[in-house]
Symmetry: C2
Subunit: 362 residues, 2 copies
């Protein structure tokens, strides 16, 4: 039986890097018996241009019925003044919310071959391998009331609401604790409980579930401002970090930049277990649509390729195929090929397509 | 006429580092004709222990009537489970709110002598000198509704509200633009307008006032997650960053850690111009109360000393005295003295008191 895969390349460099994944899919179908039933759809600015909305309801329905979604990236400055409902970003926000993709797993892992690309000193960043588990369907991203209101005197007020419930916190904490057990068994929970009651509840609920179900895992707590500092000072102190939507957005981007290889890092976003035993899942690179370099053929396709490897491993249960891809990527890096974002002296600069084909050859 | 100064040393290392400022005040009274009428009061955990509240109303009143407030730091793990109203942190939050101290100026400046203390590579951080202007009386720190509510089924919900009004955004933007004119004339405004309407309004208002009053200053906009990344990738791209309360909290801590000398960095928080032409102002180090090293005599007093220098310059109009202190600090660093936080090979490790006295000798 073929697995149903929905491919949403999106904007900017999305379609370019996705093309390199397509080559790999093609090869795997021919040589590894991979059977995929692939549907491609437009999202983001591409969908806005074609259909007037960032994502159509049919596409969300398709995503729901797929075994996995492979996502590129959305965002386009051309649409940034058109209106809040017509942001390309609505596509990914709606997918997360509608499919209840609540746990975004964002590894920040240093590729040894790329240690020179980091802004941090080698002795600070060497061996870095942490995982941020970010809650993605709650918090200030979705809370009501929200909006901009005009006051009687003509001035305006912008409002957003951060809301977290016990069960939202519990389920994402569970994902973090489960992951930690397979890693270094340490979780650091991050909030701003000295200022925000939602953070205070976050801390209490995490503490509570730890006591009840995960007392074998080492748990610590950290304020978000301190966490940002500690990530720069000594990132190797962390194993798994679990945090809310907004802090997770900022801290995971920061953490991945520490590795110097943002263009290398994949992510997975998981929903709850479904009735059929599977769970909805979406895979996407951590990097954005990078409109400044789109269409130039110089984007790094490795994060998208590695996102596909994660998809094979976690949603299709094809760990061996995932290994094949990950090893190929390592080998290509070891051979000295680099796209511009991870370039360093003495290496060979290649474009998107050459990098993709090098992986394929391996 | 004597200037009225309110000294609030607070918790943890606060009182230790403040003692070193006291020596300098003493010297300046004797040798530089500095006339200060100093009142000292308890805040934070120290006030909680003595009076049952993190700050008494009388102390807020005193602060209002002072020419400047010199603040140490608040926060103590012993009080972290006692209740949300009994957080030591309430002291600084109330002072900011009640005195309308809306613009927190946080420099992230590299001391050349300390370049080795940074986790960043020297070539990335060399010459770093940026200023974060953080809004401090609005946003999610103070918005209503807030709290933790229990739902009918026994589960709970934590709520906080981010609110920004046109005028709150305008006045802090003005501070940033005015500062930029005295620096490198560039402002980067940071929000999360692709997700939050309050960020969208922020961006619109900043754009608008720029067009009307500050079109000579170069203005750019950046999303908060991207800003966290860019601060690590290439912090020298920034001159002045202006942002809201929560993003400012995280990004300014991050920025100051980049310099490797958190223990060196002062900050000023300014209120609106008063009827008497002065403005309320509070000066405090960027670092916190550091309970882990409190009482050991090893804390770095330089951030507190430099905060006092800022106070002399901005609130008492004594720029020469401020220069004296800042030069003394430079000389002490150049002579190789280091507290533990900024220690590097070949330097001489000293404690709080020796560092303070070294500055005094200079
Ligand atoms: C595109 C944007 C809405 C999104 C977010 O803020 O969640 C992105 O920054 C991310 O981290 O996936
Ligand atoms: C102590 C705390 C309430 C405070 C804040 O979050 O504003 C501190 O982190 C700061 O940055 O001054």
């Amino acid at each position: 039986d073929a697995h149903k895969l929905l491919v949403l390349a999106g904007d900017g460099i999305g379609p370019e890097v996705m093309r390199e994944v397509a080559r790999i899919v093609h090869w795997m179908s021919a040589h590894r018996g991979l059977k995929l039933e692939i549907t491609e759809e437009l999202v983001g600015a591409a969908s806005l241009a074609a259909h007037g909305v960032p994502i159509r309801d049919e596409v969300i329905e398709l995503a729901r019925q797929s075994d996995a979604v492979l996502f590129g990236s959305v965002g386009d400055p051309a649409w940034s003044h058109v209106g809040f409902d017509k942001r390309p970003e609505v596509a990914i926000l709606k997918l997360r919310k509608e499919l209840e993709l609540f746990a975004n797993l964002r590894p920040a892992k240093l590729f040894d071959a790329l240690i020179d690309a980091s802004a941090l000193k080698p002795e600070v960043v060497r061996g870095l391998d942490l995982m941020i588990v970010r809650e993605t369907v709650g918090g200030i991203y979705f809370g009501e009331p929200r909006g901009i209101e005009t006051l009687p005197d003509g001035s305006r007020r912008g409002i957003n609401t951060e809301v977290y419930t016990t069960s939202e916190i519990e389920r994402v904490a569970r994902v973090a604790f489960d992951l930690a057990r397979k890693r270094d068994n340490r979780v650091c929970s991050v909030e701003k409980c000295n200022v925000m009651e939602s953070g205070l509840l976050w801390k209490e609920v995490v503490t509570d579930i730890h006591k009840r179900e995960y007392s074998d895992v080492q748990l610590s707590h950290m304020l978000a401002d301190n966490c940002a500092m500690q990530l720069v000072r000594d990132p190797n102190q962390f194993d798994v970090i679990v945090t809310g939507n907004l802090f997770g957005d900022i801290l995971s981007d920061l953490a991945s930049m520490l590795t110097g290889s943002l263009g290398m890092l994949p992510s997975a976003t998981l929903g709850p277990a479904r009735a059929d035993g599977k769970r909805n899942a979406l895979y996407e690179p951590i990097h954005g649509s990078a409109p400044d370099i789109a269409g130039k053929g110089i984007a790094n396709p490795l994060a998208q390729i590695l996102s596909f490897a994660m998809l094979l491993r976690y949603s299709l249960n094809r760990g061996e195929d995932a290994d094949l891809i990950e090893t190929a990527v390592s080998n290509v890096l070891a051979s000295g090929l680099r796209t511009g974002d991870i370039m360093s002296p003495g290496m060979a600069r290649v474009g998107t397509e050459m990098m993709g084909q090098a992986v394929l050859r391996e």
